[in-house]
Symmetry: C2
Subunit: 768 residues, 2 copies
């Protein structure tokens, strides 16, 4: 095909060079170095005569550049020939074929070989990869990257049912409620309107009977704590201010009455709390004391003369702070204060203190300050509360664990102050289960939005071809697939956690508290990290509030802080793992009891052999027993070494407080390793239990990805220990890449299985 319009100014044999000329001129690569290469080339070869050589050198001269139209025409000529070549060939072959097509030039097979060989040297000298460059001229063709796409290889509803388990009916009821038009989202800009909207939503939830669901039947509830967690989790597909307001009212406020009060308190308050007739607060944290609850300074002094307590805030930094429901709606509060009898401090107790009258006016002695705008959760009216000698009747003391006789004598069923304090805190562990379940829902929403968007958003593509869904890019998969896997792991772990909590026995309480604290920390951190990744993965669209990642991220950001600061929690978890099992959880200063006996692990003999530390067989890398062994080994070794290290430091004469501080970083690792192992175990169980289901294979793959990403994340540690060698960590990296690539196909169905109502998801980019 002859398409020339502008004369090519090329001798017959110089058509061989046309593809190379096109590349060096169109990418403007020609410089002194390249011209020198051409000159040397011309000097070397024998298959061009002097006229040809002169002509070729003219066409690369700096004073004779081709014009735009000319370059374009070259491309057309080359393209015409290249399209006919089936296999990706070298540029050299293309040049020779083209010369024949365009000029009818005939050369011998022998000469052709020589020319081809020489041209390839020229390409290489110029830094052109011939096999790559050929794609510039080929017809558009499918690439592996282009053709990869979403496939639905399993029954999504079956997976949803598996995830929901025995809670399916409750989940459905809550979703039905959330899809009513009253639950349309509102703009969070105006604090007052937003907070009132959130209160109205909570009223609708209470009206549907979900507020009191955990309370005893005799107090207007259904006695179903498991359903309470499910409600909170499902509500968390919607506005999270609403969820936290719900949690403050029905969880913190109501459950403090239930857990710390006795029969008369239950009868008096719970029915009204469950219907939201009596909005209230949980006033524990003070400005100066958050994590260190023992240090709170609010005082409750008993006056035997009129059988009252005086609740008092000694100074402004002892005010209750961040108290939900305080700034606008709360009428009462459970206030934690130091009990003072005859000027003697009996430690932290809880009291019911009225805050506002029925018209919403603050009562005498109560000063409430609005916390103002926050990073998120602006639909919750957090406030500061100060008490100026507020008098409450004796019966307002929540007296399950501590009581005062009319004469002012202290009474308690638990003699040890330590044990009493931590038992009291322990009854509030439910909050630590609700929070990570709520966080996971937000995380699921974020991943659903980001993964669906990644599946439809196209950007860049092969030369001349159509653009590619960004989820087909390996880096994008690397960003999102491991997070999806960990979210599934978290889901099963929280089902296990809830189950353990529902069937708890007294002697398991410390383990359960450690589990709850560790999972709360791990999964809220996971949620923060995931939503950050989702925001960035959605680019500019992720920054627009309409796409909801803004609210999801900012509302859950404080989850890593409230209900126990994550870093503090992880240290507590570690301390229980160090063997202080029988002491009370939450006791940060517990350094006296330390009965962990470091043992030689079996691993050093059976697993650390050269065959295993270097094993990169696919069968081995995808074997759950390898994954479990690796996570168990890390957990065990970290506990062992932390125990030895702390003991050594103390034995050497270091103050235990200092010794624990020196090892703080190590301790947090202990807590993480413990939870990582628990999560993997539960994921593996869930996969095993799904045998025969349509999604079983996909779930196994996801579980493998969770396990291998976790090992990869900690590969520095494993290599340090000699548990893995470099060849194996490289094999694991490759396998993680491969699993990400494969799971990308299932990613959309996997998020669809979360079955988040469209009206809750709401983000336009999730529906394109």
């Amino acid at each position: 095909m002859q398409t020339s319009i502008i004369p090519l100014q090329l001798n017959e044999r110089n058509y061989f060079f046309l593809p190379i000329l096109y590349i060096v001129w169109s990418d403007t690569l020609l410089g002194d170095r390249e011209r020198k290469i051409f000159h040397q080339f011309v000097d070397r070869i024998s298959w061009l005569d002097d006229a040809d050589k002169e002509n070729l050198l003219e066409r690369i001269a700096s004073n004779n550049p081709p014009q735009r139209d000319e370059i374009e025409q070259w491309h057309q000529i080359i393209h015409a020939t290249a399209s006919d070549i089936k296999e990706p060939e070298r540029l050299s072959v293309l040049g020779i074929t083209l010369a024949k097509d365009q000029t009818g030039l005939n050369i011998s097979a022998e000469e052709k070989d020589q020319i081809q060989k020489d041209l390839e040297v020229l390409e290489q000298d110029l830094g052109i990869i011939g096999k790559s460059a050929i794609y510039l001229f080929k017809k558009v063709h499918p690439t592996i990257t282009t053709t990869h796409q979403t496939a639905v290889d399993f029954d999504i509803q079956e997976l949803t049912a598996y995830l929901d388990g025995n809670q399916a009916a409750t989940i459905k009821k809550v979703k039905d409620l959330l899809q009513r038009p009253e639950f349309d989202y509102v703009d969070p800009g105006n604090l007052k309107n937003y907070r009132n909207q959130v209160l109205a939503w909570c009223q609708l939830i209470a009206d549907a009977g979900f507020g009191s669901i955990a309370y005893p039947e005799e107090n207007g509830g259904k006695g179903d704590m498991e359903a309470y967690f499910t409600v909170m989790e499902t509500l968390s597909y919607h506005d999270l201010s609403m969820v936290i307001k719900f949690g403050v009212q029905f969880g913190l406020w109501g459950m403090s009455i239930l857990s710390l009060g006795t029969g008369s308190h239950h009868a008096k308050y719970l029915p009204k709390i469950g219907t939201l007739e009596l909005p209230g607060c949980f006033a524990m944290t003070e400005t100066n004391h958050g994590s260190n609850v023992k240090g709170i300074e609010t005082m409750a002094s008993y006056q035997a003369v009129d059988k009252t307590f005086i609740i008092h805030t000694p100074h402004s930094l002892a005010r209750k702070e961040y108290i939900g429901n305080a700034a606008m709606h709360g009428k009462m509060a459970t206030v934690f204060a130091k009990l003072v009898l005859n000027d003697k401090d009996y430690g932290v107790c809880a009291f019911v203190v009225p805050l506002r009258d029925d018209e919403g006016n603050t009562l005498p002695g109560i000063t409430i300050t609005d916390c103002g705008r926050k990073m998120g959760l602006n639909g919750v009216d957090n406030g500061l509360i100060a008490f100026d000698h507020v008098v409450i009747p004796k019966e307002n003391m929540l007296n399950r664990f501590s009581d005062v006789t009319e004469e002012g004598k202290f009474e308690t069923p638990i003699a040890s102050d330590n044990k009493r304090f931590f038992t009291m805190l322990g009854t509030l562990v439910g909050g630590r289960i609700g929070i990570p379940r709520s966080a996971l829902s937000a995380c699921k929403s974020g991943l659903t939005i980001a993964i669906r968007y990644g599946d439809t958003r196209r950007q860049f593509g092969p030369e001349g071809g159509e653009e590619v869904p960004i989820l087909n890019y390996r880096m994008h998969q690397r960003r999102l697939m491991p997070l999806l896997a960990k979210t599934y792991a978290g889901h099963f772990a929280m089902q296990y956690m809830t189950n353990r909590f529902m069937n708890r026995k007294e002697e398991e309480m410390q383990e359960i508290e450690a589990l709850a604290a560790g999972l709360k920390a791990t999964l809220t951190w996971h949620t923060t990290a995931s939503l950050q990744e989702c925001r960035e993965a959605c680019g500019g669209k992720g920054y627009l509030s309409e796409n909801r990642i803004d609210a999801l991220k900012n509302d859950t950001d404080v989850y890593t802080t409230f209900e126990g600061d994550n870093t503090v929690l992880m240290q507590l978890v570690a301390k229980t793992r160090l063997g202080a099992y029988r002491a009370q959880f939450e006791n940060m200063n517990l350094v006296t009891i330390f009965n962990y006996v470091a043992s030689r692990t079996k691993t050093s003999i059976t697993e650390k052999n050269p065959l295993i530390v270097r094993n990169v067989d696919e069968g081995h890398l995808l074997d759950s027993s390898f994954h479990l062994s690796a996570l168990e080994y890390r957990e065990k070794d970290l506990v062992d070494s932390a125990a030895k290290r702390i003991k050594r430091l103390i034995d050497e004469g270091m103050d235990p407080f200092d010794a624990f501080n020196v090892c703080q970083h190590h301790l947090v690792s202990v807590g993480k390793a413990y939870i990582d192992r628990i999560m993997l175990e539960q994921f593996v169980f869930a996969v095993q239990a799904s045998e025969g289901k349509s999604f079983s294979k996909v779930l196994k793959k996801l579980c493998d990805l969770y396990a291998l990403s976790n090992i990869e994340e900690n590969k520095g540690w494993y290599l340090e220990q000699g548990y893995l060698e470099g060849v194996k960590t490289k094999g694991i990296r490759k396998m993680v890449n491969q699993l990400c690539w494969e799971i990308r196909k299932d990613a959309v169905p996997l998020v669809s299985a979360f079955d988040i109502p469209d009206s809750c998801l709401s983000a336009p980019i999730a529906f394109t």
Copy 2:
């Protein structure tokens, strides 16, 4: 001292056990296992008679627990004796001393030894660390953790002057402006008010002459681009919506006229842009095309008949999106569109298009939609713009790189379409320098707030002692100190970057573009991560908007996306590192030219010897040449292996687009390693140049921390390569801990040296 009130019910010799009894009862550790240990113990020893034994076993019986008052009294008795013991002793010694004090009991030295030995076995069996438990009874005493505190060991103003360098005068002027009362922060809740306030602030900035500072003197400016960056950086201590609005108006809008237009455009527009008389937009990004600018679909068709262009949006997904200044204030825009001449596409060109009349009404054919609320930067009025056959005169084409004759013929000084396109984009590189400098300011603000708060906020402490500043906790140091070090590294790197840009030569442009892209990505990611850590490190206080981490984090969150998505940028950086140095930056599809020649590094011979890979001498670990070698090695090896891998895949017949996708994760690592090395080099230079200054030693320590944290972060990779062995990575971890501990003392002065005005910082927690 006899303090008994309640009879102790203990035989004389059983006073030996009082400390142990106190511990097991107060921590409620007594269970079946422990009682069995006591029974076995009693059977074993000979220094108690039967009556004593019976009495002891009675006191641990489950049916005879001590009452609260009794336990408290035990503590008083033990404490009275313990306070007199100077050195931390074993519990056993305490018990023996106490028995003597309380009962006058006298025993022989020999028997004392035996009793002490037996008691220690009992402690151990019960899991009590005697040396640790003793602290329960000691007087309050200083611990290492308690006494560590801020010290000012250098001249802070001298360091500030060093950081400001030759820009000190400009910085001072901007800070003076920002401290005027008109710059008080406003609530971001009401979008309209907030945006108008931001416009008003920009007007004040323009009035002070900062808007036009980069423009040529003949166009009303000062021709000082370096000062422009300094202004943007310093403004970034204040509201970041204001900074981005400033950047859109004077940077993007103004600089597009300057860089893409010619003399008449400069004369006509720049004077009015610099004074903010003419607010405008930079309309490049479209809904469907962000990173892939080449794919934009807005059209500019030339009509020779009346010498006009018709600007048109072919469909709604081709609307310009996220355009700053569009929703409310912009009167004109630089619009990027495909030039169409006689139905032929000539690629992306830029045009000045009027949007609104003087009254602010949208002009015919223009439809602007508000982007609405965003995660942050709500003071910037981002909008979508659609053009419906909008007619503009021919002279509105910004014709520096592409032009059209009156007859409609295309003219250009750059024949290659590729080169022209990327040269045009290259002129906009300045934005990529302003953004990371702005990000670093936000990062400095966040760190100043979090570090100052950590220095004053106290929580927990040794048993009975006062609470400790949270910055004394190792974990807290681990969270913040490496971020502070990297922020300093970023500061010096951006000074280097700016300097390279100011003195750029044509042949350095690709390196400079790669540097700018890589530093933009690295430092905006660093800022996002740092502010997240600051938020969490400040706990609940960090969540309150008044403490500003909310705004700092949310406003800068999109920095990782705009001016080039970080992940895309890092791939471009990597491609230039792979040796396509002479091609155009930003060319994502550039796969043809690939002249990187993998070379054997010297390292394998000289550095990977057993002595070095295991060397943990302090002198070596703190040697900058070790740090530099390590970072250079990582960079070089990653480039080498990426080049070989991609070449192998293509040689094996893989489509280059697929090959680059397979290696995407690898490529991002290449980009990161390159920037890490550059940042360390510049930090080391800055330390060297500070010799003799009061802060030189502290700066060296900070530089060491930056280097070692970076190596630690990548230790998995180093171990995989055999460049480091486990013993050395453990040594590095220990050294990082040590440096964090030491720098904690200097942390407050180090953030004070940023010299951020109090009124900008504003966070109450930074001033307690």
